[in-house]
Amino acid sequence: MLAEKYTDEIVTILNKYPPDQKRSAVMPLLYLAQREQGYVTRQSLNEIAAILEITPTEVASIVGFYSLYYDQPGGKYRFQVCNDLPCALRGADEFLEKLCENLGIKVGETTSDGLVTVEAVMCLAGCDRAPMFQVQSGEGLAYYENQTVESTLQLIDDLKKRNPQS
């Protein structure tokens, strides 16, 4: 249960907003829930709704609307490669294709060990340092810029070593 595990953090989040505007806390609370399980479970959805005194449907609509929330589990690490126009002008499409080829998956799929999901995403504000991607995981979000397929595969290898059970 979020409320028990993150009591202090939830109070800090709620204190950011006027007492009669608790609903504003829905996005930070969803991040909290997602950090715990990698996606927003039905249970945490209900719990957030209860904390904020709104309906679970309203919370679910937020999960559906915003692309950084997930209602399904994915790989432990989501590699999100920007292939919008400015990045594509610097080779992002070729990078994405070769990366997936090397991992033996298609864009949007997860490696068989469940470690890495590769996704194409919209602009990440790193256009001058493409090819670039962000890695989203329980540890937060990290940017990797001026990447090559080799450097990325190296990074995935390092993650494999850190997660031997996966």
């Binding site: 950011k16 006027p18 505007q21 609903r23 504003s24 806390a25 829905v26 996005m27 930070p28 969803l30 991040y31 904020l52 709104i54 609509s61 937020i62 609307f65 915003y66 692309s67 950084l68 929330y69 919008d84 126009l85 400015p86 594509a88 002008l89 610097r90 995403v121 919209m122 602009c123 990440l124 504000a125 790193g126 256009c127 001058d128 340092r129 493409a130 962000q134 937060g140 979000l141 990290a142 940017y143």
Partner: protein, 425 residues
């Protein structure tokens, strides 16, 4: 550039440390306004500087502040740190490397409209930046620069960060306010505008990160000093985000009125492989496509000159497209972006971007006829002027200008099938 107003960290090491920032007169502007100026005097000063919004619209900042309704309270300031326009990466550098100057700008704006709470709405991907700002805010509170009774006055202020979660539309100010209220990020019908009906229905100033970061220096050095940079109608410097086919992409802080040629060739080092610039998008993916003639390259990048090329300066996110690129591929990219990011609230944008994407997919995969090119233009024209917010309008800028100014690329596509094989053909 001999003098930085915004990217001062490039010449002052460790400017992101509070001590260093204060050694360089940091928070003296905030102290000055709280201890010696009336809120209206601050607004007059910013008006006199001629500062215009750097997020894209170019609206005069002081005027925006002056519109804040004094009959309704409390007031709020919301800093737009949603930076999501393809081709834009300037606010990120400011917040990472010169965060205190930005936070001081937020604080001064808050004082000017007597807001006691300010929110910084960052795109969700800026998780690490939000964490950094939270830490800086805590340091400011510990140093008595935020909180109660600031500088022994009765003024109090708190600043909070709030993370979005991957929605381009939240860069639109009313969608941002909806999102901050915990709702879907969909734009409101305007009017009323945020200065009278903003966050929680209260008067709210929404300013871009770069805009706010100008303010401390304007207060410190004066409006006349600020006007010594840039042009008469577009004073100051601007961070130009240079991307695409250039040797040295990156952020360049230059006076408004610098030419495209100067940015692309002198600063950006020109186009790799000695290729020619074919088209320029001056405002990221939301731009019209400028044909890169000699005259266009010599055009000053300011709010009044770029429109002469049938385009806008917007956020000054200059994407350089060289002559190896087919324009139908550019539209393929921008339309996939806009159809993904359309919030779905109003029909012309939701349906229009969807159908434009389908048509460009056909054109791009050589399964189209000349009629499809005509149809793409028709759909775009029917979106024009019919949307709730600017997203729908942005989605057709590249389409209409591309079809009109680079018709050869489309004709080749539909008549020759695969046609000549271009790098991104």
């Amino acid at each position: 550039m001999s003098e930085y107003i915004l990217l001062r960290h490039r010449t002052i090491p460790d400017l992101n440390q509070l001590e260093v920032y204060r050694q360089h007169d940091g928070f003296e502007a905030f102290r000055k306004v709280v201890t010696t100026l009336q809120p209206d005097e601050v607004i007059e000063l910013v008006k006199a500087s001629g500062l215009r919004g750097r997020g894209g619209a170019g609206f005069p900042t002081g005027l925006k502040w002056a519109f804040t309704d004094k009959k309704a309270w409390p007031h709020y300031v919301v800093a737009n740190a949603d930076e999501s326009e393809p081709g834009t990466f300037k606010d990120r550098e400011i917040m990472e490397k010169n965060p205190y100057q930005f936070l001081e700008g937020v604080a001064i704006a808050a004082y000017a409209v007597q807001a006691k709470a300010a929110y910084i709405y960052l795109r969700g991907e800026f998780w690490h930046i939000a964490a950094g700002l939270d830490q800086k805010i805590a340091e400011m509170e510990a140093a008595g620069l935020l909180g109660e009774k600031l500088f022994d006055s009765d003024y109090r202020l708190r600043i909070y960060t709030h993370l979005g979660a991957g929605a381009y539309i939240c860069g639109e100010e009313t969608a941002m306010l909806e999102s901050l209220e915990g709702k879907l990020g969909q734009p409101r019908l305007r009017p009323p505008f945020p200065p009278s009906f903003g966050l929680y229905g209260k008067p709210t100033v929404v300013n871009n990160v770069e805009t706010l970061s100008n303010v401390p220096m304007i207060i410190q050095k004066g409006a006349q000093w600020y006007r010594s940079f840039g042009t008469e109608k577009s004073p100051g410097t601007k961070i130009f985000c240079l991307s695409g086919r250039v040797y040295r992409p990156g952020n360049y802080e230059l006076p408004l009125g610098t030419t495209f040629r100067d940015l692309i060739y002198t600063h950006g080092g020109g186009v790799p492989g000695d290729h020619k610039v074919k088209a320029i998008m001056a405002a990221g993916a939301s731009s019209s496509l400028i044909v890169a003639t000699e005259e266009a390259l010599d055009t000053p990048m300011d709010y009044e000159s770029v429109p002469r090329l049938g385009a806008q300066l917007g956020s000054a996110s200059v994407i350089v497209i060289d002559d190896t690129v087919n324009i139908d591929w550019v539209l393929y990219k921008t339309l996939h972006f806009f159809s993904h990011e359309s919030c779905g609230k109003c029909t012309p944008c939701r349906e229009g971007t969807f159908w434009m994407r389908h048509i460009i997919d056909r054109i791009h995969s050589d399964q189209s006829s000349a009629e499809d090119v005509q149809l793409l233009g028709d759909v775009a024209s029917q979106i024009k002027g019919k949307c709730l917010c600017a997203l729908g309008e942005f989605s057709i800028e590249a389409v209409l200008s591309g079809l009109e100014r680079f018709d050869g690329d489309f004709n080749a596509r539909v008549t020759n099938g695969r046609g000549e094989e271009l790098a991104h053909g």
